[in-house]
Symmetry: C2
Subunit: 442 residues, 2 copies
């Protein structure tokens, strides 16, 4: 800690990419406001970067502050802001910073989701703060509301659009009717998707955020490896069209749910595309915006909406944490540590309760509906709605009558639903399973 | 404070109406979770009510805890929850509680908006906490995000639907086409409006919330008497129809804006009905829901949505504050005190920059548009769009040609706009000013 009550607090910045540069600039531009709000000025004592020599004129600080020696930098700071990302060497740097008495503000979803408990334990040991609002949904204040505002309530569900790239792609597929591959190319050309979009489109990014949200919402350790993950690469124009016919849109959702399983209370944490009604608060989230929908016993339904990425929005979240951590340095006190007392089991995906929307291309013959309905009934899956429509088409050059059969189920164990879909594929009169999509948002 | 580290924290509840009963019930039902999250149990040591003898069987506590002696009760608590409302005797009770070392959680928007600085000063003096998340927008976490999450950012605008009654009435007018008076009666019969709906429909409730939001967002003292206030009693079916033609809805908005006036930075704080596009995040807020839209320099646009009233939703916000305050008792530290360092001037309404939508019934004669346009130009008001449409009608039993002229202005000083409307009313060829409504949300 600083020695004098009036001395500036020493801030070290690890990383100076898009987010780091925004953080540095805002620290300089908002210096007077920050000083007034904290009660002491903040001084940037160093910015760790991988190599010197690049043009950093966009960052309005003394160039002498740039250093490649992050190991040394973290030993002489009151607060360390980490925007490097990744697991190593970041974890070591954070632990080292804490050992040297620094509080840490991080935007590192991957590390928090993989090994949050280690960081929390080190923070507890060192008596310092660990804050990471920017790790989930960028500028949107969501972790503090879950950790603090809803701390007297019981959260039952958190469901979020927490990845801007995939929301941009799905929204464009919805508005243009285009397929997945070409839409990703558009997103890449506009800067909404990276050259290698795997982390986003395969749901890895969203899964890390789901793990963090579930851990905080349910006071239970959930790591990213425990999150069932499906990306959007398999979402077809036919899926989007099927959703549109239902008055719905397809969104990649991070879903964290409190479940009363036969063995007692448990949590289900998963990331997958799902249909959601356009009238649902999440249904209207366009472009690359993020939003998180929260249900709790007393508060009811809440939604938090805003920008999930970008330099300045992410920096806003980081600076909010920075002010909290700095106030603790000035006024005393500490933020809440890890809260994992509930220690609820994380259900395997097969035991999650989901709803399916299934679109089938079937022969227009007697007995088809009976065969299909039996496949559901035999697996204990209850059907909510069914709609059959004759569709004229050709097969091998000859006109033949076929039909489109759309089934929406009630909530049922995921395993039973998946098994039902497999069984449908083996029915003679089912020519093709056109689209299978989970349904969320009643 | 409690003497032993393991002793329960003593909680006194002032008031046991709908919200108080929910707070008491949740304190009992969630006792184990609260203990785990705080690190010590909470004990209700008393519930102050106006008179004994009423049936309180809905409140699952020892009936001996009810007392009419609030003055005495507040002297023997670590934390006092105030849900009585009103100015006196509530203010005295809160000050007395603080003098006796209790932290205070309040839902009292009227008192906070009228005399927040006195409460903050007393809390500072006594070294205790003052929290009041439930005072604005019920269950929606909005004060904590503004005070803490956005503490490193610069908020430029807060615009909220913060009164459920008026939103219910305006939403129903929009969906049914009915007038104000009959819709209020419907709202009363459904329990969405009180027998005397003045505080809601005249905007007093929203104005108090606007004062609180502006104070926190701009680090400037704003009291409810400084808030320009217009209710919805004058909103007509014609206004709603005019908004619908623009693809907009009419909402009662609490608007807090940072303004660069000629004399420097200032704030404008006002409550009035305004047209807002249906596609704006606030445009889709239906029924009695609340939502607050926040714009800041780094974070960009954010929105917070949820239930603004009701026993359990309000209790959720109160319990979140309670956990924060209780953690401070256990772990040390204190929440942020008053932050009014920016001390920005509050602009009079005439200096606020607003946009108007004006619908006129005019004669279909040459020169009408010129006369109308001149009235705007002479007062320096720039017109954004104008639309004229001939409407066949009768006057004194004879067919005559008339037209509907709709003008939407750019942003201009409110005084110039109001003056322009007055001038329009004196133009011979303007038969009637059909609707005048401010426009928000670009």
């Amino acid at each position: 800690m600083s020695s004098s009550a009036e001395a500036p607090l020493r801030v070290a910045l690890l990383g100076c990419g898009v987010v780091g540069a925004s953080v540095a600039r805002l620290l300089v531009e908002n210096r007077d406001d920050l000083t007034a709000r904290i009660g002491r000025p903040l001084d940037i004592v160093g910015i760790a970067i991988r190599r010197l020599g690049r043009d950093r004129s966009d960052v309005p600080v003394d160039p002498a502050l740039f250093t490649t020696d992050a190991d040394e930098l973290v030993t002489r700071a009151d607060i360390v802001i980490e925007v490097i990302g990744g697991i190593e060497p970041t974890r070591d740097l954070i632990l080292r910073a804490m050992e040297h008495g620094a509080s840490v503000v991080s935007a590192n979803k991957a590390l928090l989701a993989e090994d949050g408990p280690t960081l929390y334990a080190a923070a507890h040991e060192a008596g310092v703060d660990l804050y990471y609002e920017a790790a989930v949904a960028g500028a949107i204040p969501i972790l503090r509301p879950i950790r603090e505002s809803l701390a007297g309530d019981r959260i039952t569900k958190v469901m979020g659009i927490v990845n801007g790239t995939t929301n941009f792609v799905l929204d464009k597929m919805d508005s243009t009717g285009a397929g997945f591959a070409e839409t990703v190319e558009v997103a890449q050309s506009l800067g909404y998707a990276e050259a290698d979009p795997t982390a986003d489109v395969e749901g890895f990014d969203a899964a890390a955020k789901a793990a963090i949200l579930a851990s905080l919402a349910f006071h239970t350790r959930v790591s990213s490896s425990q999150v069932h993950r499906e990306g959007i690469a398999e979402v077809t124009a036919a899926d989007i069209a099927a959703a549109a016919e239902m008055g719905s849109v397809v969104k990649l959702l991070a879903i964290c749910e409190r479940v009363n399983s036969p063995a007692g209370e448990a949590v289900s944490v998963r990331v997958h595309p799902a249909m959601i009604p356009r009238t649902h608060p999440l249904g209207g989230v366009r472009d690359a915006f993020n939003a998180v929908f929260v249900e709790s016993e007393a508060a009811g339904q809440l939604m938090f909406y805003g920008r999930g990425a970008g330099g300045d929005p992410t920096a806003s979240a980081i600076l909010g944490d920075l002010v909290a951590v700095a106030r603790h340095r000035v006024e005393g006190g500490r933020g809440a540590g890890e809260s994992a007392y509930a220690d609820l089991p994380v259900l395997p995906m097969g035991a999650a309760l989901t709803r399916y929307h299934i679109s089938l291309d079937v022969a227009d013959r007697p007995g088809v509906l009976a065969a299909v309905a039996s496949a559901f009934a035999e697996r204990g899956v209850s059907i909510e709605t069914v709609r059959q429509q004759v569709v004229p088409r050709e097969r091998d050059g000859r006109a033949e009558s076929g039909a489109n059969l759309v089934v929406v189920t009630h909530r049922a164990p995921e395993a039973a639903l998946a098994d039902t879909v497999d069984a449908l594929g083996t029915i003679d009169t089912v020519r093709e399973v056109v689209s299978v999509m989970r349904v969320e948002g009643d």
